[in-house]
């Protein structure tokens, strides 16, 4: 269950971001999680809810967008999008594929409250 250490990293980033923006509060956190990111979204959610208490993001909502695998074929140059994890081109069957999306684990954006 490495989701806890990942959430710890997330909160380091959140503190940094809030400080840079001069914000008092974070109200929304949006992550992009690839199907091949190696983390379980439900476990991230649980870890987030535990971790957020008494932080700048106590009241924040967490939104996790799951990103399917997007593969670029080096044979026919077409793209395949899949929710399962099979590395064959849907168009020509080639296995010479480049992962364009689906492995990421990204803090995409946040919403902040700033006092004037």
């Amino acid at each position: 269950m490495h989701e806890l250490s990942i959430v710890a990293n997330l909160f380091e980033l959140l503190e940094e971001q809030a400080k840079e923006a001069g914000a008092q509060k974070i109200t929304l956190v949006k992550l992009k999680v690839g199907v091949l990111s190696g983390v379980v979204p439900e476990l991230l959610q649980t870890a987030f809810d535990i971790y957020k208490k008494d932080t700048i993001a106590t009241e924040a909502e967490l939104i996790i967008e799951t990103v399917p695998l997007r593969l670029l074929c080096h044979q026919c140059h077409q793209e395949t999008i899949r929710d399962d994890i099979v590395f064959t081109c849907a168009h020509c069957g080639s296995t010479r594929l480049e992962k364009k999306e689906g492995t990421e684990l990204i803090l995409e954006k946040i919403e902040l409250e700033i006092d004037d």
Binding site: H2, S5, L10, I85, L112
Partner: protein
């Protein structure tokens, strides 16, 4: 007045680990050290394979081993008994090694090693997300674990360079079909190099040794 503001961040949650890992990889490659990170579930035979590799490669080649475990020095002691320097990292509960743990050990690692092996914490899930600065990632799957495992642990198999099927000596006694494992693993990762070994009988060990030596040579000729 309180204002609401949206802020685009676009930062990798594992970015700090990746940064440290890349620094470690660069240094090790510059020193001409081939580094391999071994992943498997507990008991698949990582330490036994390392003992075997120590016998095969040492003293002609200089080896070092980093042992990752939640508790105890046991695996490091097994490696030291082979006359190989070993450094134990006890994570105290954490289910994986992180690059900064390897970074902390770095000053102790002799710069004239040929091979540095890292035995990760026994777990096929969490360690897969953490680059440790290795050149090669080996995932070990032992025959008693069953032939349905690759697709259950896709991250480990898609990020590995090699699949090592261990305990081949037990295959005749088990409902384990190596062809099925190999097919599933290649569907996840068509580039995977596959070895089938037994540390008990020595089957397949020479192929793995030859591969490691060839990798060492390649690393040195491309970074001479």
């Amino acid at each position: 007045m309180t204002k609401r503001k949206e802020r685009l961040v676009l930062q990798d949650l594992l970015g700090s680990n990746k940064k440290i890992a890349n620094e470690i990889r660069e240094k090790l490659i510059q020193q001409g050290i081939l580094t391999a990170n071994l992943l498997s579930s507990p008991g698949a035979g990582k330490t036994t394979l390392l003992e075997k590799l120590a016998k095969e490669l040492s003293p002609a080649y200089r080896l070092g081993v980093i042992e990752g475990d939640i508790e105890t020095q046991r695996d490091a002691e097994r490696i030291r008994a082979q006359g190989i320097p070993a450094w134990q990292i006890t994570t105290g509960g954490a289910c994986h090694l992180e690059a900064k743990m390897i970074g902390n050990l770095f000053p102790q690692i002799p710069p004239d090693l040929d091979f540095l092996f890292i035995e990760n914490v026994g777990n096929l899930v969490c360690p897969a997300s953490y680059d440790l600065g290795e050149k090669l990632r080996l995932v070990l799957l032992s025959s008693p674990e069953g032939d349905d495992k690759p697709k259950k642990y896709p991250k480990a198999f898609t990020t590995a360079d090699c699949l090592v099927i261990t305990k081949a000596d037990l295959i005749p006694h088990l409902p384990f079909d190596p062809a099925k494992v190999i097919q599933e693993a290649l569907e996840l990762n068509p580039q995977l190099k596959i070895f089938t070994i037994s540390a008990l009988t020595g089957e397949g060990i020479q192929d793995l040794v030859a591969f490691l030596l060839q990798q060492l040579q390649e690393l040195r000729s491309s970074h001479a």
